[in-house]
């Protein structure tokens, strides 16, 4: 496991991107930062710009306008960047599959490392998803 990946896992800085979501999953992501599920205990911090982020949290069903910005944003991210898809919409666009404005699912646009299903996923599901991701990256 390279030095960058080891450093990456120490404490994950997270950038949250909503691409056409109904903001239930975005609120559950924000819920993780509030007192009840405080993820700052594990060093996970929400940062304001993609340049400092290790993990890109994507929610929403990638509609046409957001998809362009998503791909552009992913290119700007510093490279060992893990992408975590949260909620049914970012996994396979869930109920919006036949929608004319959501042509392609997320993993056709950017490589996704972890999927957290749920509509919306409970904050505990998000935390346990990220814990599984850390163990998987460490285990490799």
């Amino acid at each position: 496991m390279g030095i960058t990946t080891k450093a990456l896992l120490k404490s994950l800085w997270v950038f949250h991107l909503s691409t056409g979501s109904c903001n239930n999953c975005d609120i559950e992501v924000l819920d993780c930062l509030t007192p009840r599920f405080d993820v700052e205990r594990f060093g996970i911090k929400l940062v304001g710009s993609i340049r400092h982020a290790d993990v890109l949290l994507v929610t929403g069903s990638c509609n046409r306008k957001s998809a362009e910005r998503l791909v552009k944003l992913y290119k700007e991210a510093p490279q060992p960047c893990l992408v975590v898809a949260i909620g049914e919409c970012s996994l396979s666009r869930g109920i919006f599959i036949p929608s004319y404005n959501c042509p392609r699912p997320l993993d056709k646009l950017v490589p996704v490392s972890a999927y957290i299903p749920g509509c919306p996923p409970k904050p505990e599901a998000i935390i346990s998803g990220i814990v599984k991701l850390i163990q998987k990256v460490k285990g490799k």
Binding site: N63, R64, K65, E68, S92, I97, P98, Y100, N101, P103, R104, P105, D107, K108
Partner: protein, 159 residues
Amino acid sequence: MIKRKEVLADLQTRFKKEITDIFDKSPHRVYIDIPPSALVPMSRYIFQDLGARFNIASGVDTRSHIEILYHFTIEDINLLISLRVRLNRQKPVIASLTTVCEAANWIEREIHELLGVDFTGHPDLRRLLLSDQWPDKVYPLRRDYKEWDKGAVRDRGVK
């Protein structure tokens, strides 16, 4: 407290020539069919003099013509007036309501973009919702809308 019957009677006397049909759906709702030309004077009267609230305009593509319903709510007597306007399907054009009330600005941009109705006199009729790659003259809410994006994935996208 102006009563419901007085409002309808007043509308009928004032716009006798334009109103083609009045249909009382329920005590709180009434449909009024009018030609496109009568829209602006009538909605100005309803909005400004009767103190109604502009609710929304909903465009519908019935296969034979394009229909737009303008909904106005008069709160204190809880009456919803829906003005129904029929436009021909090939070249739907109608006067814009932004001169009457500022709230109609956005909904007309949305109907222009999704149904292809042209609103004359609208200050800035640019795109509201759809992305820039969306081809012109393709209106998603039309009945004959077909998928134009060849790369679109319409199943789970796993296989």
